[in-house]
């Protein structure tokens, strides 16, 4: 019994370490300059479309609604102190520091991360990756790197868009519907939001999330068992792992940045 437990423990340990090693190699491969220059650019644009543009709608809608809800909830809380003028501050700070980076990262993991895993898993299953290798083209440069950089560029932008639309949504509900003074809404927000401490840290967070999500998604796809079952498992696993990683990292980053 004991040996069995030890055995399975050792096994999962070895699996974890080899998995981490393979993931590390993947990241290195993606980051290694390929010397392809001009040929890389169209690939990147294509992936920016898939990863960024196609996530835009869900980000905008989610941002608007979260901002509106924040405004509603915040108003009913703040009005008790007669401090409803600070609504703008509350909405902006919660969006910029937390909700913007985290919620857009979670949506990104669900929308773009799962799609990346499925796509690469499918490429593996249909031997497209092998066939690239046999054409003397490194799939790291052709497939992995453009997707990685596209994710890295897209998520911070998406997160900024999310926050911007969230604040607009908050304004819509707070000012146009609940009647908070628009001057106070913006002025108190402007007085309390700081570029370095609130916006830049939020963007930094989403860059970290971007690296982690894209990395997990690419790794899961690249390491997927090339069957339909394997791909569907890998896709689920991407969403779960990436979401948990985002939430865990968010705590660590927040503790580091705001303590």
């Amino acid at each position: 019994m004991l040996t069995k437990t030890l055995l399975s423990l050792g096994n999962s340990g070895i699996n974890f370490i080899t998995g981490a090693g393979r993931a590390g190699m993947l990241l290195l491969g993606a980051l290694k300059p390929s010397g392809r220059g001009v040929k890389f650019f169209p690939l990147l644009v294509k992936q920016l479309y898939v990863v960024g543009v196609q996530s835009l709608v869900i980000i905008v809608i989610a941002g608007l609604f979260i901002g509106m809800v924040l405004s509603l909830q915040g108003y009913s809380l703040l009005v008790g102190f007669g401090a409803e003028q600070s609504l703008g501050q509350m909405v902006a700070l919660s969006l910029l520091r937390e909700l913007g980076p985290v919620v857009s990262a979670l949506l990104f993991a669900g929308r773009a991360g799962s799609a990346l895993t499925a796509e690469i898993g499918l490429m593996k299953a249909t031997e497209q990756l092998s066939s690239l290798e046999m054409m003397a083209i490194d799939p790291m440069h052709q497939i992995i790197a453009p997707r990685f950089w596209a994710g890295l560029i897209s998520l911070p932008l998406l997160s900024a868009i999310f926050s911007a639309f969230g604040i607009l949504g908050g304004h819509l509900v707070g000012v146009d519907w609940l009647g908070v003074d628009t001057g106070a809404f913006w002025a108190i927000m402007q007085a309390s939001v700081d570029w370095n401490q609130d916006i830049a840290t939020g963007l930094l967070k989403s860059m970290v999330f971007a690296v982690v999500i894209t990395w997990i998604a690419l790794h899961k796809g690249y390491d997927a068992v090339p069957t339909s079952e394997g791909i569907s498992k890998a896709t689920t696993s991407t969403v779960v792992t990436a979401s948990l990683a985002v939430l865990g990292l968010d705590f660590i980053l927040t503790a580091l940045m705001f303590s």
Binding site: L48, A83, L157, Q190, A191
Partner: protein
């Protein structure tokens, strides 16, 4: 080969993203990025700084002219506040006074600077200068205490 439509959409996406960051920077944070232009340093000693924090505003007649850059304790255990004032507001005389004020009853605290008169006795404050005339933060508990006990006890 990628189609024109994709290129266009990606361009638009990047533009929207950058526009969002700019909107956050200008409309939401109202910051002159990277700390803004030239500043000079003034300091002042208070008895009590209350809820004043680093980066709190320094205002003259409600207009922000600078921000608190450091709060520390002096040798004689009185709080020393260092402020960075924008260089274009460099005409404060050494008879100017500062007070820690609160915006609204529960709002955040800031430093209100009242410029002194300029005459032959006074000098213009330069970087590193000290403002002597200070009024400390109003602490709500003390205020309530004064109100309850008629202000007799200190």
């Amino acid at each position: 080969m990628i189609s024109k439509k994709i290129q266009l959409m990606v361009g638009a996406f990047l533009l929207i993203g950058i526009a969002a960051i700019l909107m956050l920077a200008i409309k939401v944070a109202d910051s002159r990025m990277g700390g803004g232009g030239d500043v000079y340093v003034l300091s002042a000693k208070f008895d009590n700084v209350g809820g004043l924090k680093v980066r709190s505003a320094v205002k003259v007649g409600g207009v922000v002219v600078g921000r608190v850059s450091a709060i520390s304790l002096d040798d004689d255990f009185s709080p020393l506040v260092v402020m960075k004032i924008e260089s274009k507001f460099n005409q404060f005389s050494d008879s100017s006074s500062v007070a820690i004020l609160t915006s609204g009853l529960l709002g955040e605290q800031f430093i209100g600077l009242t410029p002194g008169f300029i005459d032959e006795d006074s000098e213009i404050l330069t970087s590193g200068g000290m403002i002597e005339d200070t009024r400390s933060a109003m602490v709500l508990e003390d205020l309530i205490g004064q109100f309850l006990y008629g202000g007799n006890d200190d």
